[in-house]
Amino acid sequence: MFPTNHKTIFVLDHTPYFGISSDFPIEFDVSKSRGPGYVPLPPVCKSLWTCSVEAAVEYCRIVWDLFPEGKLIRFVVSDSAAHLLNTWTEAQQNLTHILNGLCLVGPVRRGAGGDVVGLCAAIEALGEPSPNQSSRPTTERLFQNRGRIICITSARDDDSIRSLAEIALNALVQQNKKLSMVPPTTSADATANTQSLVVHYCHLVIVNVTPEKIETRVNNQPLTEMGGGLMGVEVIVSRASALANLLGRLVLPHYKLATTTVTGIPMKEEQNASSSANYDVEIIHSLEAHAGLRAAQTAAEALESVVLRWWTPRGAEGGASGCSGPLWRVTPADVASRPSACLVNFLLNGRSVTLEVPRKGGGRSASHVLAAQGGELWIGALGGRTPYDDPPALSEGAGGRITDYRIKEFGSVMQQNKLLPLRGAGANGRARARLQRHTTYWPLTISSTIIFNLGPVVEPLSRLVVQETLSEAEVEACRGVLLSLLGMESRHESPAAPLPSNVRVKWCGRREDQWRQVWGELEALVRAHAASPAHRALLRTLLEQNRDNNIKKKLNIIQCSGESRASVIRATTDSPLSPVGAGGGAAGSSAGAGDVWAPRNALEALLGAPRPPRRPDFAGRMAAGNRIATLYSTFARCRSTALVFYM
């Protein structure tokens, strides 16, 4: 659950001995001799302290670059007392915090003391739960609390190293014993989250640092178990100058990392931009990224850097999307070198690059891709078949033969439901609620709707009605839409009249049927959104308008003794439905939901008898859409609709 590398503690020796020089001179005055009398500067030597600090900081940089969370490192500086530079909290897990702390500690001062204080403090710190660990509910506290202590010190001989390890083990045993003495009842307390944990395993790495020329009587010791598996001790001897390299190598097994050398990167020098030279850059990433390459390799080979050749990108390549598998973070091994910086900048500017396995026999095979996303660098492995390749064609599956999906409209729904990074909880929920509103009444195909094909005539209404609330002005705008539609209908125009003829869709049925569908859809649309008072007001308007419209139309028709209508009117007189009854029916529909789907205007009612060359469709089926209609579904709810069936 929590691997050993979840918690790492550096114990840095800050005793006077570490103030001595590493005896590894660094020449930094390499500028060409500038004439006689020019005295070159003496080379400078780092102290042991400087060497150990920079090595430890480099270790941290690699870890935190690759694992932004979940891999915690703490620093303990040990002289006469133990100085804890940071805690396990996320905010203190960064280089800036550590470096500030180191500034305050300052260079080595005179005084007594040694590593023992720091080591004991480190073991105590291992017992403190990390934020991840303390966020576990107390009932699930059965995880293993493991950690690693890297102690950079300098000891006289093997014996003193051994006694150091024994002191650490003792401290660990004592601490665990003390914790087990605490009655378990306290674990139920609210304070339990800050309570120390038993340390189940501690990997103690003792790095013995010496200056360049001094003989040491400490020897390397491979990992040995102490205290019955409670502690694993490893001793490594290193020259101060080689310490950074040593820790840079140690970090690989500690975090299951591997290195890749990207070879043959063409770069131009600033001075002579005409020619380019090839450079190599070493990068560090998860070992898993090499899994495919390692299949046939031995364990010894796995420790070496894999050499992959730069495959100069041509044009716009797919970037990381080419890999079907996971991606891993990447960090350069030598962050300060110019080729590294150049490669990092190249990637951060949005380019990606493919890497290939160099082959002697020619033939290329792309193996990995390097790309930046969100300001971080990633490596992904390419290749391998995917189990989902050669997919079945969508056009042969369900819904594949339909060609008039409202793709463009759904595109705009998607644009309106674009996600953005917000702060605070509930953002996902709000997004889903919004999507819910936007799709409440949403026919999938063009041929199944009229109102959404009417373009600018209906657009203000269909756009506004999906909002959570409507303002006064917006309700007015929607009313405007309804009025203009009414106007069109009363002028006996086709609903599609304002559209250019090329976008008109073939709608079946007569104009009256089309208008009937328009009003039906509008009512369904508005009714589906009738959540806020403003929406309900809009719905009321729509229903009233429908009713008034019907009455008016009927009156119109009755009064109008027009030539073409004469036969219609004659037929009307035979209609069993009186005008008043039809009006009442429409008003009733606002109360019962049953006949929403069959809003009828007076015209239709008047035309009812002579119209059908076939029988009118069963109202229940209209309501059911393309599903099986249930009989008498509304019978119990609204008796008045039963009348409709018999008409």
Binding site: I26, V30, Y38, L41, E54, D65, L99, C103, L104, G106, A244, A295, A320, S324, G325, L327, D334, A336, S337, Q373, G374, E376, T386, P387, Y388, P391, P392, G397, A398, G399, Y405, I407, G411, N417, K418, L419, P421, L422, R423, G424, A425, A427, N428, A431, R432, R434, L435, L444, S448, G509, D513, R516, G520, A528, R614, D617, M622, N626, R627, I628
Partner: protein, 515 residues
């Protein structure tokens, strides 16, 4: 997930099986063939897209049929298998590992069905030696199921059982733990040694291991039933106790431009295959997709019956979503379960540009699967009131932060920084500000590393530059260099991090500017 059928064709498999029916001679191999036929028949109904290979083994192994979706080609081969010599499981498994790695890489879960005769061919010592030498776990995620064609009471099975158990256990404990799967393989022993019993065992294997995965893809009120292929495996996440299983409702949360989305860290990818809508779920949820007035015109009612019989003519949300995602170049973020997200995008294989489909990428559980999108649970709709951040959400770590002069572990980095200071020092008075800026940077790094030797040394270098100034140089240069050198070595302030070196405010600056 592809399947490798590993069929034992050793001599012992050709032993006849005693039956009451004497007209037909049944061997263990014919029983195995029947089992494989059952398996393939099951797949052709439930998982047509599954790739299957037939590998036969005895003391050597041979790819009889490479990975294919053409199951008939495997069936055709079953009748013409050559018998080999001796069962040698470890060689066969090593061979299968090679074949699978070569073909599928190391990220695809591959299931192996080992059909053998229930003997390991060696004694107890030999068996233990085989267990030691098993080439497991493979470097790719895998599951091994074992179907021994043997009567359950035979002693050889009891003898071989520890080996089988070890194979099944080891196969799932993959070294590549990024796609941590907790489902293990299993051993399916038939009740008795007969065709019927083995077929029953095989059917049980199919039903347990090759279940198709159905779920509902919901986008607000729009929804459709879909199949995910390959069936998603439960994911367990390092550092978290919980195991994640995809719920049977996938909710679209919203949409993103494809280039904003990038390539999040997916643990697996699955085809989303739309399924015909069942007609009898006329509940209120489906209100939206119900097109109320579709049959308003009576001319369409006649086609409705046809629509119901041909699912390809019933509008399906998946097809619409695919089209719109493709046209807009967007991807959908979907919620797969609590604290678990995925992305749906239109995907098209490079080699088959015209055949495009919906692909679900299952992200690593947790809100941080795509750091450049910010925490996934905080993705929300654009709102006028809140100031909108944009993608990508920048990580607060940057690769240059480490370059703030603390990476001096390699001498060339230190050299470069010191040279920079000296370059500025030679270009005074123009570069006075730059010189002090670099000096302060150098100081800061040196103090945090406890590298006071460096400061002394740089002070010396500045003094030398001062001495080497040509006589024509303005007097301000010498003053500034001397001032900086002194400040670097001032015992009171040199190692005080709060102290910042300031350029010497001289009257010369004023007069020289007035010239």
């Amino acid at each position: 997930m592809p399947t490798a059928i590993l069929l034992d064709v050793s001599l012992s498999m050709t032993r006849p099986v005693p039956t009451s029916d004497t007209t037909e001679s049944i061997t263990r191999l014919t029983i195995a063939s029947a089992a494989i036929n059952t398996f393939l028949d099951y797949l052709s109904v439930h998982a047509k897209l599954e790739y299957v290979a037939l590998i036969t083994f005895s003391s050597t192994y041979e790819v009889t049929v490479p990975f294919t979706r053409d199951y008939d080609s495997i069936k055709a081969k079953l009748g013409h298998l050559e018998e080999g010599d001796k069962t040698c499981i470890e060689t066969a498994l090593a061979g299968v590992n090679q074949i699978i790695l070569g073909e599928w890489g190391y990220q695809t879960l591959v299931q192996t069905i080992l059909i053998t005769d229930g003997t390991c061919g060696v004694g107890a010592i030999g068996r233990n030696r085989i267990i030691q030498a098993l080439p497991l776990p493979p470097s790719f995620p895998s599951k091994i199921h074992i179907l021994p064609i043997v009567s359950p009471h035979e002693s050889c099975l009891q003898h071989a059982m520890p080996l089988y158990q070890k194979i099944v256990d080891l196969a799932s404990s993959t070294v590549n733990n990024s796609t941590g799967s907790i489902n293990r393989g299993a051993i399916y022993c038939p009740d008795q040694l007969s065709v019927a019993a083995v077929v029953t065992a095989m059917t049980k294997l199919c039903e347990q291991q090759y279940q198709e995965f159905w779920c509902t893809l919901k986008c607000g009120q729009l929804e459709t039933k879909v199949q995910l292929f390959p069936a998603p495996q439960p994911a367990s996440h390092e550092g978290l106790a919980a195991t994640y299983t995809i719920s049977n409702q996938i909710h679209v949360v919203g949409f993103l431009q494809q280039q904003d989305l990038g390539t999040p860290i997916a643990i697996s990818k699955h085809l989303i295959i739309p399924q015909p809508q069942s007609n009898n779920n006329n509940n209120k949820e489906n209100f939206g997709s119900k097109t109320p007035t579709k049959e308003g015109s009576s001319s369409e009612t006649s086609t409705t019956d046809e629509d119901n019989t041909d699912p390809s003519k019933v509008p399906n949300f998946c097809v619409l979503l695919h089209g719109a995602l493709k046209v807009e170049g967007m991807a959908a973020i979907v919620q797969l379960g609590p604290e678990w997200w995925g992305t749906v995008s239109a995907w098209c294989e490079a080699s088959r540009a015209r055949r495009s489909c919906l692909l679900l990428a299952v992200l690593r559980p947790g809100a941080s699967a795509a750091p450049w999108l910010g925490p996934l649970d905080q993705l929300g709709p654009a709102d006028e009131s809140t100031p909108a951040e944009t993608f990508p959400v920048r990580s607060w770590r940057s690769y240059s932060s480490a370059g703030s002069a603390c990476a001096w572990a390699r001498p060339h980095a230190l050299l470069a920084d010191v040279q920079k200071v000296l370059r500025h020092a030679r270009k005074l008075p123009d570069k006075t500000q730059h010189l002090y800026k670099e000096l302060n940077r150098l100081r800061r790094a040196a103090i945090s590393l406890g590298f006071s030797e460096l400061l002394t040394s740089v002070g010396g270098a500045l003094e030398r530059e001062c001495a080497a100034l040509p006589s024509s140089a303005p007097p301000e240069c010498a003053l500034q260099l001397a001032h900086a050198a002194a400040a670097l070595r001032d015992p009171r302030t040199a190692l005080d991090i709060k102290h910042t070196l300031q350029p010497l405010a001289t009257n010369f600056t004023v007069t020289s500017m007035s010239h």
